[in-house]
C-alpha cells in the first residue's frame, strides 16, 4: 500500500513527470482535482489485493478451488462484500468498492468489464509484470522472512525513476504510430530495474521453485483433498474467511494422530518431515533427448513403482520478458532489452521435478542413472497428438 502511494505520486500526481504526449491520450491525467480520490483507490486496491488468498497462499490454489474460481475471484468477492462496501463508503472521500476490486485484481483476472487506458495504468501500478508494487513487495517480504538476501533491490530508486511514457520505438512502416502509454523508466533507474529482475529470478529459482518447498506443496494438496469436504475449498466469502492456516494446521495434527483418518498419510508426511525425495530434476541437456523429460521420467517411475509412490511438478515463472520503455537523453525511448544486456540475457526461471517415496528412491536413482537415455528417449508425444486429433475430429 505504501509502495502504491509512492508510485502513484511519482507517476501521476507529480505533474512535471507527465509529458504532454501522454496527457493527450489520457485526459484523466489533467483532472488534478480527482487525484486524491484515485490515490486512495489505488492504495486501497493494493491493500486488498491479496484478501482472496487461501491458507498457505498459492500452495494449493489450483488444485482445491472449484473450477472457474481463483484467489482473485475471492479477492473481488471480499472487497465488494456488504461489510467492505460500507467501510469504503465511509472513507473521505468515499470510495467505490467495485473500482477498488477491479484495480486490485487487474485486467487479467477481473470479472467486470473492460479496462480503460486510465484503469489499465492504475491497475498496472499494482499488478504490472515489470513494475507492479505487489511484486516489489512480495520479493522484499519473502526474502526477509525466508532469511535469504536474493530478493533485495533498491526499491526507493526504482520507484522514483518510474514514468508514464509512450512505448519504445518499434520497427516497421508505422514506427511513429501512437499507442497507449505504459509504465517505463528513466535511464537512471535502469540498474535498479535490473536488480529487481535479478531478485525475481533468484527468488524463483532458489526459493519458490526449491524442490523441498515444492514437495511440501504437493503433500499439502494431498492432505487438503482428503480433509476438505468433497476435497474442495469453499468459494463463498463466509467459507473463505472461516478457514485460515490455523484451522488447517489443527486439522493436520488431528489427522496425523488418527491412522484411520483419510488424510492421515499426507498429514504425517508433513508433520513428521517424511516428504517424498527428488528422483529427477530436469536439466537443459535432457531437452535434447525428450521434449518433455519430466513426463518421461514420471511415466517410467509410475510404471515401475505405482502411481501412489510418484509425484511430478513442473513450475515455470509466469509473466514475460521485462520489455519496457527506457527514456534516454533527449526524450528518446528505447526497449529495455536493447539497452540492458542483463535483462536481455536473463533466463526464465523454471523448475521441474519427479519425486518418489523415500523408501524407494535409492533403488530408483540407481536404475535411472543406469538407463537415463533409454528412459528419457522412450517417451513420445504421439499419444498426446492422438488425444488432440480425437478432440479435433469431435469439434469438426
Amino acid at each position: 500500500m505504501e509502495f502504491a502511494g509512492q508510485a502513484f505520486d511519482v507517476l501521476i500526481a507529480r505533474q512535471e513527470n507527465v509529458s504532454e504526449e501522454v496527457r493527450d491520450v489520457v485526459p484523466e491525467l489533467s483532472a488534478h482535482n480527482n487525484f486524491p480520490y484515485w490515490r486512495t483507490v489505488v492504495r486501497m486496491a493494493a491493500l486488498c489485493h491479496d484478501l482472496g488468498h487461501l491458507p498457505f497462499s498459492h500452495a494449493a490454489e489450483h488444485e482445491i478451488l472449484p473450477e472457474d474460481v481463483s484467489h482473485e475471484t475471492l479477492s473481488e468477492q471480499v472487497i465488494t462484500s456488504p461489510e467492505m462496501r460500507e467501510l469504503f463508503a465511509n472513507m473521505v472521500p468515499p470510495v467505490d468498492a467495485a473500482v477498488v476490486a477491479k484495480l486490485a485484481v487487474g485486467a487479467e483476472k477481473a470479472s467486470q468489464g473492460r479496462f480503460s487506458v486510465w484503469e489499465s495504468l492504475l491497475s498496472e501500478i499494482i499488478t504490472g509484470d515489470a513494475f507492479g508494487v505487489d511484486r516489489m513487495d512480495y520479493l522484499l517480504r519473502d526474502s526477509h522472512h525466508a532469511g535469504v538476501a536474493y530478493g533485495r533491490f533498491d526499491h526507493h530508486r526504482l520507484i522514483q525513476t518510474l514514468r508514464l511514457m509512450m512505448p519504445a520505438a518499434s520497427p516497421g512502416p508505422d514506427e511513429d504510430d501512437s499507442q497507449a502509454p505504459v509504465i517505463g523508466i528513466e535511464r537512471g533507474g535502469l540498474e535498479a530495474s535490473e536488480s529487481l529482475a535479478l531478485a525475481r529470478y533468484f527468488m524463483f529459482s532458489q526459493v519458490y521453485f526449491h524442490p523441498i518447498r515444492v514437495v511440501y506443496d504437493i503433500h499439502l494438496v494431498d492432505f487438503l483433498r482428503n480433509w476438505l469436504p468433497e476435497g474442495k475449498y469453499g468459494a463463498t466469502v463466509q467459507q473463505h474467511l472461516a478457514t485460515t492456516d490455523n484451522e488447517v494446521l489443527t486439522g493436520m495434527r488431528v489427522a496425523a494422530g488418527d491412522s484411520s483418518h483419510p488424510a492421515h498419510e499426507p498429514a504425517q508426511r508433513i508433520l513428521q518431515r517424511q516428504h517424498f525425495k527428488v528422483l529427477y530434476e530436469r536439466s537443459v541437456s535432457d531437452l535434447e533427448l525428450s521434449p518433455d523429460p519430466g513426463l518421461a521420467v514420471k511415466a517410467w517411475a509410475v510404471n515401475e513403482y505405482g502411481e501412489d509412490a510418484v509425484r511430478h511438478k513442473a513450475s515455470r515463472k509466469g509473466g514475460g520478458k521485462l520489455d519496457f520503455p527506457v527514456r534516454e537523453f533527449a526524450n528518446r525511448r528505447v526497449s529495455s532489452l536493447s539497452v540492458s544486456e542483463t535483462l536481455a540475457r536473463l533466463p526464465s526461471a523454471s523448475g521441474e521435478y519427479v519425486f518418489l517415496r523415500p523408501d524407494l528412491v535409492a533403488d530408483a536413482r540407481r536404475k535411472l542413472t543406469r538407463n537415463r537415455e533409454e528412459i528419457l528417449g522412450s517417451w513420445s508425444p504421439e499419444d498426446l497428438e492422438e488425444d488432440d486429433m480425437a478432440a479435433l475430429k469431435e469439434e469438426l
Binding site: 512502416p173 504510430d177 505504459v182 515463472k317 509473466g319 520489455d323 526497449s335 488425444d387
Partner: protein, 181 residues
C-alpha cells in the same frame, strides 16, 4: 490442444512470420495467434482480452515464457533501440517434426495468418486485432459503427485508421477459404 502441440504450432507460426519479414516480437506473435484462434478457429483456447495494445492473452504471454524456458524458442536481442525477436530453436524444430498431423492440420491457417501479418508494425496490428475482436463481439454492426467503437475504446486511433482496419479484417475473413476452421 495439449501443451506440446500448442508449442509446435506456435513455433511454426513464429517461423512463418520470420519468413515474411515480420519483426516477430512478442506483440506480433500475440496478435498473429489471436487471428489464428479467432478468425481461423485453431483451438488454442487462450482467453484474449482487449488490453492497452489490442487483444492480449496473459496465458499466451506465460506460455511464450515457458517455451523459452523449455528452449523451444529463444529471445534474440536486436540492434539498438529495438526490442527482441522470438526465434524457433533446433529443439523447437524437432518438436514440430514430432507432431506431423497437428502441423498438417493447421499449416494452411498458419500460412494465411503469417501472410496477413507480414511486416506490419505493432500499431497497425493493434488496430487490426481490435477490429477483429469488435467484429466478433458485434456481428451485426456495420463498419462505421465498429470504427466508432474502436475510437471510443482507443482514443489514440483515428476514425479513418479504424475504418481501414475493419475493412482489412473483413476482407481477410472473407478470403480465408482453404484454412482449417
Amino acid at each position: 490442444m495439449k501443451r506440446l502441440a500448442r508449442a509446435a504450432v506456435l513455433s511454426a507460426l513464429a517461423d512463418g512470420l520470420h519468413e515474411r519479414n515480420s519483426w516477430t516480437g512478442e506483440t506480433h506473435l500475440q496478435k498473429a495467434t489471436f487471428f489464428l484462434q479467432e478468425a481461423l478457429g485453431v483451438p488454442f483456447e487462450y482467453d484474449f482480452i482487449l488490453y492497452k495494445h489490442g487483444p492480449f492473452s496473459f496465458a499466451l504471454r506465460d506460455e511464450l515464457n515457458s517455451l523459452e524456458a523449455d528452449r523451444f524458442i529463444e529471445v534474440k536481442p536486436q540492434r539498438y533501440p529495438y526490442g527482441p525477436r522470438l526465434e524457433t530453436t533446433h529443439i523447437g524444430k524437432a518438436l514440430q517434426a514430432k507432431f506431423p498431423r497437428t502441423m498438417e492440420m493447421h499449416r494452411a491457417a498458419v500460412d494465411q495468418v503469417a501472410d496477413f501479418v507480414r511486416d506490419r508494425g505493432v500499431g497497425e496490428l493493434e488496430r487490426l486485432g481490435t477490429a477483429l475482436l469488435l467484429i466478433k463481439e458485434n456481428p451485426n454492426a456495420h463498419d462505421e459503427k465498429l470504427a466508432e467503437l474502436m475510437t471510443g475504446i482507443k482514443p489514440h486511433v483515428s476514425l479513418p485508421e479504424a475504418l481501414t482496419a475493419v475493412g482489412e479484417v473483413r476482407s481477410f475473413m472473407s478470403e480465408r477459404h482453404g484454412a482449417a476452421v
